[in-house]
């Protein structure tokens, strides 16, 4: 997470305009309207000078009073009307359009960014970027910009006007009011610095808490809750201590700023009073000035309340921008489609994070169409990474991946994924009917096609037994589908998709035993006459493979048929023997 120094006002303005997208004209227009509104407001205030003078002059002239009063009313009216229209930006749907568009843009980005980058984000993070960050950054755009204008434009207009009335008074205001700026900067700096301490203590608390909650079963089973609870207590107390220290420090600048106007008033009364007494200033001028200055308290108070909102806006903007700036996977010309389904990896090297070590080194192999290839090896050796490269999770660092002679970089994601079906261990089901969940594999499928796929996948029966059969809503099942049932739905999807290449990622791990047989039958249906790549742990399941790739530490050490590598690969032989011993115990 970037903890860069807070953006300057101008940077925020630029970001706002960028985020406003095609509506930035409306945004700028509303800013202009606000500007006019506050200039005229300042002028309306300024009318107090001549107005009060007219009211209290020894020869009060009704017409003169009406004259100045009308001006004041006129300026006020313009101010109110322009503000009304300025707020149209937030109140007539522009904001809504912008948030909508932003979400659409972000959604599109999610679809086109490399899957690898996608997986680096925790789901919670992305969720909050697309929902709350979008709202936080945009919803208050209008109000916040209006406030900024108000506290800058109005005082400036007032001070300018005062110069014409009495330069001494203007000077006083000029000296004191701008104190708001360094106070504001100081306050933000202080709050961000102490924020670091606070953030550290807070994230420590957060991780302590998560550990505590997740580890409770273990802790309770060993009667150790007390000790961990003590650690947690310490973290909680530390947060409190830091907060208390910080509070004393930061309240002062904040409150001085809030009372700035009152301080100005006091100074004005004192000095002004002196000048009135010695005759160099008219009482009525001083009175008018006091009324005008007191009008400045309201926006200042609101502004103080807005600072945290502003900070939130700032960081929300930045998070959104980071996502939008992610480079999408590019399809290189000439765009091609694969016509046959041999797979070829040629001298492939890949490292996940460009400067770290390679997760794949010099991987080369050929897979003939309709053959069965297994990848075996210890955890972390790169098996899954190979399949990821085939799906173009990310681009290889060196070498090439080809399907039917076509480099996958020349295929659109859509074309590529059309040719590949994957059966993962985790099955994602969304809150819709069972039918639609399966249909996602082939949106245009008819119900008959779906049922056929389910029969082959051995899940038709249990689906029929659900409360509403295929129309049962997954959410209503309350997670009551077993691992095996979910796995079979996943296989049904793959069967329905009918892609020529099938990737099975440890398909029989974590299954309940009763459905294991059912799942196996389903897999049989799925792999028939297709090009299959299997990541296998149970070596006994892949003895008939046309080719087995034995992997160790990012490289392929041996490849060949089962009998061949039993001899040529020490690693494979050891794995096989260990598993055979285990198997013997079970018969």
């Amino acid at each position: 997470m970037t903890n860069k120094r807070f953006s300057s006002l101008y940077e925020v303005y630029k970001l706002s305009v960028e985020i406003a997208g095609e509506y930035n004209v409306g945004f700028k227009r509303s800013l202009l309207l606000f500007f006019i509104s506050f200039v005229t407001l300042g002028l309306a205030f300024a009318m107090f000078f001549p107005l009060l003078k007219a009211i209290f002059s020894s020869q009060a002239d009704i017409n003169e009073i009406i004259y100045w009063f009308s001006f004041m009313a006129f300026f006020s009216l313009i101010s109110i009307v322009t503000k009304w229209f300025g707020h149209n930006f937030d109140y007539s749907g522009y904001i809504v359009e912008i948030t909508n568009e932003l979400r659409v843009k972000l959604g599109k980005k999610l679809r086109s960014m490399p899957l690898h980058t996608l997986s680096k984000y925790k789901t919670g993070e992305l969720n909050s970027i697309l929902s709350s960050n979008v709202d936080e950054s945009i919803l208050h755009m209008g109000v916040v910009s209006a406030l900024f204008m108000q506290i800058t434009v109005v005082p400036i207009v007032v001070v300018l006007f005062t110069f014409f009335i009495d330069y001494k008074l203007a000077l006083i205001m000029l000296i004191i009011l701008p104190f708001a700026i360094p106070l504001y900067i100081m306050k933000r700096k202080v709050s961000i610095e102490e924020k670091k301490d606070f953030n550290d203590a807070n994230s420590n608390l957060e991780s302590q808490l998560i550990e505590y909650i997740q580890g409770l079963p273990v802790l309770r089973s060993v009667n150790q809750v007390g000790k961990n609870a003590k650690q947690l207590d310490l973290a909680v107390k530390k947060v409190r201590t830091i907060q208390e220290e910080g509070a004393s420090k930061s309240t002062l600048p904040l409150l001085i700023m809030g009372s700035l106007v009152e301080i100005v008033l006091l100074v004005l009364v004192f000095l002004g009073g002196m000048w009135v007494e010695e005759g160099s200033l008219a009482l009525i001028t001083l009175a008018a000035l006091l009324v005008v200055v007191s009008r400045l308290t309201e926006p200042l108070t609101l502004f103080l309340g807005v600072i945290p909102v502003f900070d939130t806006m700032d960081s929300a903007f930045n998070r959104i921008k980071t996502v939008l700036d992610i480079k999408s996977l590019k399809t290189f010309e000439p765009k091609q489609k694969a016509k046959s389904f041999d797979i070829e990896f040629e001298n492939v090297f890949y490292s996940y994070d460009k400067d770290e070590t390679y997760s794949l080194k010099n991987i080369s192999f050929n897979i003939k169409q309709n053959s069965l290839t297994a990848i075996v090896g210890h955890s972390g050796c790169g098996k899954t990474t190979i399949t990821k490269m085939l799906m173009r999770y990310d681009d290889v660092s060196k070498g090439s991946v080809k399907i039917g002679g076509v480099n996958i970089k020349n295929m659109t994601q859509k074309e590529l994924m059309k040719d590949i079906s994957v059966v993962f261990q985790d099955v994602y089901l969304f809150d819709d009917t069972v039918l639609n969940n399966i249909k996602m594999a082939k949106p245009k499928a008819t119900k008959d096609e779906i049922i056929k796929a389910c029969k082959l996948a051995n899940c038709h029966d249990f689906i029929q037994n659900l409360p509403n059969s295929y129309d049962t809503n997954i959410g209503d099942l309350g997670g009551n589908l077993s691992g095996g049932e979910k796995q079979r739905i996943s296989i049904a999807r793959a069967i329905l998709k009918d892609a020529p290449i099938v990737i099975l990622d440890e398909p029989t791990a974590s299954l309940d035993t009763k459905s294991e047989l059912a799942v196996q039958k389903a897999i049989d249906s799925l792999v028939k006459n297709r090009t299959v790549i299997v990541i296998a742990h149970r070596l006994s399941t892949i003895t008939h493979a046309d080719n087995i790739l034995v992997m160790k530490e990012a490289e392929i050490t041996q490849q060949g048929k089962h009998k061949e590598i039993l001899i040529s690969s020490e690693l494979y032989k050891n794995m096989w023997e260990a598993q055979t011993r285990t198997k013997a115990w079970n018969s």
């Binding site: 009304w84 808490l209 505590y212 009667n223 047989l517 003895t543 285990t582």
Partner: protein, 595 residues
């Protein structure tokens, strides 16, 4: 009804810092009042510069004295505001600490099942976010409430005292504004509801879209999922627009009428008239001009505040939900167990939020030192049974006995010392491997830890790590493979040396090379203990002293492997499929005939 409950929760939860809150509100209110007084006095002081005989509200003073009074009142206002702020913040800090400490202590005593069902995500949200929300409420909103209520009232009263006519002028403006506003806001409730509904829908749509993306993209480029997402967005957009259109006018109108100028114009105009006809002097006019907007200025913040209050109420409600969960009752009657026979007597169990029984009429015995295997299809109730023994939940009917004592009567320490459970979710702390294992027995020597690890077949692996036993485990043990994590957990259980072992054998084949080691480790763990094991391996089942076959929450059959092969069709069925599954291999040439 929901709202009533929520309101009560909020104030109830803030009770521990009532003193802080009330003081903050009072001080803030006092600050508001004194600043209104200061403004009024300001007018008086100013006019004293010219005419020291000015009387205002019956007071006479010279300029210097008056100025000092003014400065003092201003400082009082300033300092009471400062202290209101500090007190409210300190109150918030205290409340945070109290709530977090109490809730975490509470979580240590509620049924473990509650924690696993509620989920760490939700618990985390409550303990972190919801409490933070309350912090903001106590720290910022309470003093605001104080000030926003006292300022308009003080302004009104003072205006009435100074010149009731002008007071009426400003009230009229205000009332006019409120009337028009409420007229325009008539239907907003309906739209607000629609808006809030679509808010939660949009969050749902986003979550679904985001979570599914990695999977969805393996099917297509996300077109159909994107379509659904888009539809939710459009829906949200329409609802939001409607709401804004309906309430936008009212909001803009409110801002217009409640802005200072209308009030000031009214007061200036009418005041000018009275000055001209001699019934109003400068001081009074000036004073009213300074405080007239006190009422309208306070209304906007009050409106914003109701929003905060709502959010905090919802947070308080969620917090209360958790703290209201009943703690497990331990009777502490039985402090020692002499034997470790387990008996389930007519046990029935129903999850809180589900309709049907998860378990019904379960009766079986496990004699000390024997091994019972629980088998059955998923959803049959296997892990539920296992979890009832360490009291993850209490049974709904019947009893579970150890040494002929109801487990509810057994002292919690004794129970936990007697029952070790090894389940699928192996949790390792962000600490050294040694400390993770030593959790099981703080007093264990290093030698004992090593012995346990050797028995668990993990010692060799640990010795290959950079710092051996002192290596730090990554968050949630992420740097170990599934099989390795399991063996560390087994080492813990071995070190614990409890007499009863409850074990879920799952995640077979997660880790091929570990398989052999895992089996050895389990064998060592179960030696000479009373064991209940949710079995997945053929060997485990065949070796068991007793097999318990479950289906849909009922115990279908019990006996040894040989007995069941003779007596139970269900068992034969299940066992045959185990065997078939075991002998399967992947074949894409369609060479399998139906085995």
């Amino acid at each position: 009804m929901e709202n009533e409950k929520m309101k009560k929760s909020l104030w109830a939860i803030m009770k521990p810092v009532n003193l802080h809150i009330n003081s903050a509100i009072l001080l803030a209110a006092f600050s508001g009042i004194t600043s209104v007084i200061a403004l009024t006095f300001l007018a008086f002081v100013v006019s004293l510069t010219v005419n020291t005989n000015t009387t205002f509200l019956g007071i006479t003073m010279d300029f210097d004295t008056a100025f000092i009074y003014l400065a003092v009142i201003s400082f009082i206002s300033f300092f009471s505001r400062k202290y209101a702020f500090i007190i409210s913040h300190f109150g918030a800090f205290k409340l945070e600490e109290i709530l977090r400490t109490n809730l975490s202590k509470h979580l240590a005593k509620v049924p473990l099942g509650f924690i696993t069902t509620t989920g760490t995500g939700k618990l985390k949200k409550v303990l972190l976010d919801d409490i933070k929300n309350l912090h903001a409420f106590v720290a910022d909103t309470t003093p605001m409430i104080g000030r926003s209520i006292s300022t308009p009232i003080a302004s009104l009263i003072l205006m009435l005292i100074i010149d009731y006519r002008l007071a009426f002028a400003s009230i009229v403006v205000l009332i006019l504004g409120v009337i028009i506003m409420s007229y325009v806001m008539k239907d907003s409730q309906v739209y607000r509801q629609a808006y809030e509904n679509s808010q939660s829908n949009i969050n749902k749509a986003v979550v679904e879209f985001v979570q599914a993306m990695p999977i969805v993209r393996t099917f297509d480029d996300g077109t159909s999922s994107f379509k659904r997402y888009n539809e939710s967005l459009e829906n949200y957009k329409t609802n939001l627009k409607n709401w804004i259109n309906e309430t936008g006018v009212a909001a803009k109108f409110a801002m217009a009428i409640l802005s200072p100028m209308p009030t000031i114009l009214a007061v200036s105009g009418i005041g000018a008239y009275f000055v001209l006809n001699g019934s109003l002097d400068l001081v009074s006019f000036l004073a009213v001009l300074l405080i007239a907007t006190g009422m309208s200025d306070a209304l906007m913040p009050l409106m914003w505040m109701s929003n905060f209050v709502k959010k905090s109420q919802a947070a308080a409600y969620r917090i209360a939900d958790i703290s209201n969960e009943e703690e497990l009752y331990y009777s502490n009657k039985v402090k020692e167990l002499n034997s470790f026979d387990i008996e389930f007597k007519n046990v029935g169990f129903k999850y809180e939020n589900r309709d049907s029984n998860a378990l019904e009429n379960i009766n079986f015995e496990v004699k000390q030192g024997t091994k019972s295997a629980i088998i059955g299809s998923s959803g049959a109730g296997k892990s539920t049974i296992a979890k009832l023994i360490p009291r993850f939940w209490d049974v709904s009917f019947g009893e579970i006995l150890i040494d002929n004592q109801n487990i509810k009567d057994i002292d919690s320490k004794t129970l936990m010392n007697s029952v070790a459970f090894v389940f699928q979710d192996t949790y390792l702390f962000h600490d050294t491997i040694k400390n993770n294992i030593k959790l099981a027995n703080e007093k264990a020597t290093d030698e004992q830890v090593i012995q346990a690890c050797k028995a668990a077949q993990i010692h060799e692996f640990i010795m290959t790590l950079p710092n051996g036993y002192d290596t730090l485990v990554g968050d949630k043990g992420s740097r170990l493979s599934g099989g390795q994590k399991q063996r560390v957990t087994i080492a813990r259980a071995i070190l614990r040396d409890a007499q009863i072992i409850v074990l879920d054998e799952a995640t077979s084949y997660a880790d091929a090379q570990s398989e052999e080691k895992l089996i050895k480790a389990l064998a060592n763990l179960m030696k000479n203990k009373t064991v209940i094991i949710i079995a997945h391996r053929l060997s485990t089942i065949k070796d068991a002293d007793q097999i318990l076959l479950f289906e849909k929450g009922r115990l279908l059959a019990k006996g040894t492997h040989e007995e069941l092969l003779k007596n139970s069709f269900d068992y034969i069925d299940l066992y045959t499929s185990y065997e078939k599954a075991y002998n399967w291999d992947i074949d894409n040439k369609g060479n399998h005939n139906d085995k």
